[in-house]
């Protein structure tokens, strides 16, 4: 069996491990545009701030490809898919045949048509190379405007501040981190970032990037205000990288459509990770879930099935672990319902900068925010994942020390396999 994997990140690596859990001998050819052995994409902001050294950026040990017998072509771009001939075409023109193909090309940055975005000094923040390039240009006091107060924009901001940059973040929404926090929790995090010197422009965005001689000099905001700056980072969001897919018969919506085996609409072709649209068990529909745990698991599932095993992706849901300047937060699922049928419960402790919120639907937990009160929050994630009816113990869910002790005895014994 000849396997071809396009993409060398969480989903691609998951697929290698999935294939090898079933098939020890089949030939695996893996292609990646980026020249590096698989590295951890979330670590690029740690790299920029200096917290992680180059040698600890890697997602697997140095022997990984050898040990799992993978022919890794790093720094080689795939240019086209010829699905009817069961081959892929490289940018060099070479053709590579496959029996089973995995598309794990991840995400690409959304670049809105802001005038001036072609100036030098305007960049996105998605790859190790992005972080390296940015890092080389920094100097104490450099002024940076970050467009977008999402996870990526704010992780970049934190690293820049640690490198002594002066950062202003412009965000169209009324709050920062709007995908994972509600207003009250977002305000706590915003204040915390402001205390580190970050400035925010909410309900506002960059209307135009200003420049001279091809280089950024500032931005003009939607409200007319102008800010001087040396760099602009576009961090509005990421969307599935469908470049290879558009000219094929593969069905896609936001991302490539896959079933629970991670198989696409074309036989022998699979997709996983940020490029795909898998099942979200909280929203109960297919959605792009651009987070690393999801990419790995989908990749692994795809790999097992490609190799003739049988594995089902049970469905994921949005979940994030993130923190800024020692203020950690864990969030999952629906954190701010906009339709009826949900109950929300909140415990706020402003003195401790802590905020906990749970969201229930029909007796089940469907989302939570745990800001600066993260210990053991995974128990909540587990209750969501296993769709447990939490009604019998829901009054305990918000407690700081919520644990298995609050479970009904039956459920606890079953989960912990407690002995008599």
């Amino acid at each position: 069996m000849d396997y071809v994997i396009i993409g060398n990140s969480a989903a691609g690596i998951g697929a290698v491990e999935g294939i090898r859990s079933v098939d020890r001998v089949g030939k695996i050819a893996l292609f990646s545009r980026e020249p590096y052995p698989a590295y951890s994409r979330p670590l690029i902001s740690y790299y920029l701030s200096g917290k992680v050294a180059p040698e600890t950026m890697y997602y697997r040990d140095p022997d990984f490809y050898l040990r799992l017998q993978v022919e890794a072509s790093l720094g080689r771009e795939v240019q086209a898919l010829k699905l009817e001939d069961k081959t892929i075409e490289l940018s060099t023109g070479d053709k590579v045949p496959f029996d089973r193909l995995l598309i794990a090309t991840g995400g690409k940055p959304i670049t809105p048509p802001i005038p001036g975005r072609e100036y030098s000094g305007v960049s996105t923040f998605l790859t190790w190379d992005d972080a390296k390039d940015l890092g080389e240009e920094l100097f104490p006091g450099i002024k940076v405007v970050v467009i977008g107060a999402g996870l990526i924009g704010l992780k970049a901001t934190e690293a820049l501040v640690k490198r002594e940059a002066t950062v202003t973040v412009a965000e169209l929404s009324n709050r920062i981190l709007s995908a994972i926090l509600d207003e009250d929790s977002a305000r706590i995090v915003q204040t915390h970032l402001e205390e580190q010197g970050v400035k925010f422009q909410l309900n506002n965005t960059v209307a135009e990037i200003l420049g001279e001689e091809g280089k950024v000099t500032g931005v003009r905001l939607q409200n007319g205000e102008e800010l001087e700056c040396d760099r602009v980072i576009l961090a509005i969001g990421v969307r599935p990288n469908l470049d290879l897919v558009r000219d094929t018969e593969l069905k896609f919506n936001q991302g490539i459509l896959v079933n629970s085996h991670m198989a696409t609409s074309v036989d022998d072709v699979f997709a996983a990770g940020d490029v795909s649209e898998g099942y979200d068990k909280i929203y109960q529909e297919n959605r792009v879930l651009p987070i690393l745990p999801n990419a790995y698991k989908q990749g692994f599932t795809a790999g097992v099935n490609m190799a003739g095993g049988s594995s089902e992706f049970q469905g994921g849901f949005a979940m994030n672990a993130i923190g800024f300047f020692d203020l950690p937060m864990l969030t999952a699922g629906i954190i701010k319902p906009t339709t009826p049928g949900f109950q929300e419960y909140i415990r706020l402790d402003p003195g401790k900068q802590s905020y906990k919120k749970i969201v229930l639907r029909a007796g089940k937990l469907v989302g939570y925010i745990a800001l600066n009160t993260v210990d053991r929050a995974g128990i909540l994630t587990g209750l969501m994942d296993q769709e447990v009816d939490v009604t019998p113990f829901q009054e305990h869910l918000l407690k700081e020390d919520f644990g298995y002790i609050h479970f009904p005895k039956e459920l606890r014994s079953q989960r912990l396999s407690l002995r008599k």
Partner: protein, 163 residues
């Protein structure tokens, strides 16, 4: 594989398991007094006794077959050993992002915030055994050895479907 199972009817809530676990994972694994007196950072247990007025039981990593923490780890630091089945964290690579805490359904991972931030969890005393060259650790974890009322048992899986 062998795991630690708790018997809540027998547990007295004395938390000696926490004390011995913290010691075993300190700079002085064999010396409780030194561990608590000499180490600059407070020794942290990787086992937690949950208790209320009527019941108590100890809980630590279940070394899951399909370990969610290893799949979610953003750096690759959290790994399951394919031979022993032990799930452990390579603390040099861990960056303390707490993604593993987000996904561990047992709440079995702690935060060690005292130096370089790392996720701290039960390794069934495997690293302690390596460091101290004392076989007793690898045979039976210290929490089990030191439970005065035998509320902790180290045994092969009794759960159907678990390996």
């Amino acid at each position: 594989m062998k795991r630690v199972y708790a018997r809540e009817e027998v547990c007295m809530g004395c938390k000696l398991c926490e004390v011995y676990c913290a010691t075993a994972h300190s700079e002085y694994p064999l010396d409780l007094v030194k561990a608590f007196l000499k180490q600059k950072m407070k020794p942290l247990p990787r086992i937690l006794v949950e208790y209320n007025l009527s019941i108590s039981f100890a809980l630590q990593c279940r070394h899951c077959d399909e370990a969610p923490c290893t799949k979610a780890c953003i750096t690759g630091a959290m790994q399951k050993d394919s031979v022993t089945g032990i799930v452990s964290n390579d603390e040099r690579r861990c960056v303390g992002c707490w993604t593993c805490i987000l996904v561990c359904p047992f709440g079995a991972i702690g935060r060690d915030n005292q130096g370089h931030k790392v996720a701290s969890k039960c390794d069934l005393c495997s690293n302690v055994a390596d460091q101290t060259d004392t076989e007793s650790f690898s045979n039976v974890p210290v929490c089990v050895q030191n439970c005065p009322n035998r509320a902790l048992q180290f045994m092969d899986s009794v759960v159907e479907g678990e390996e």
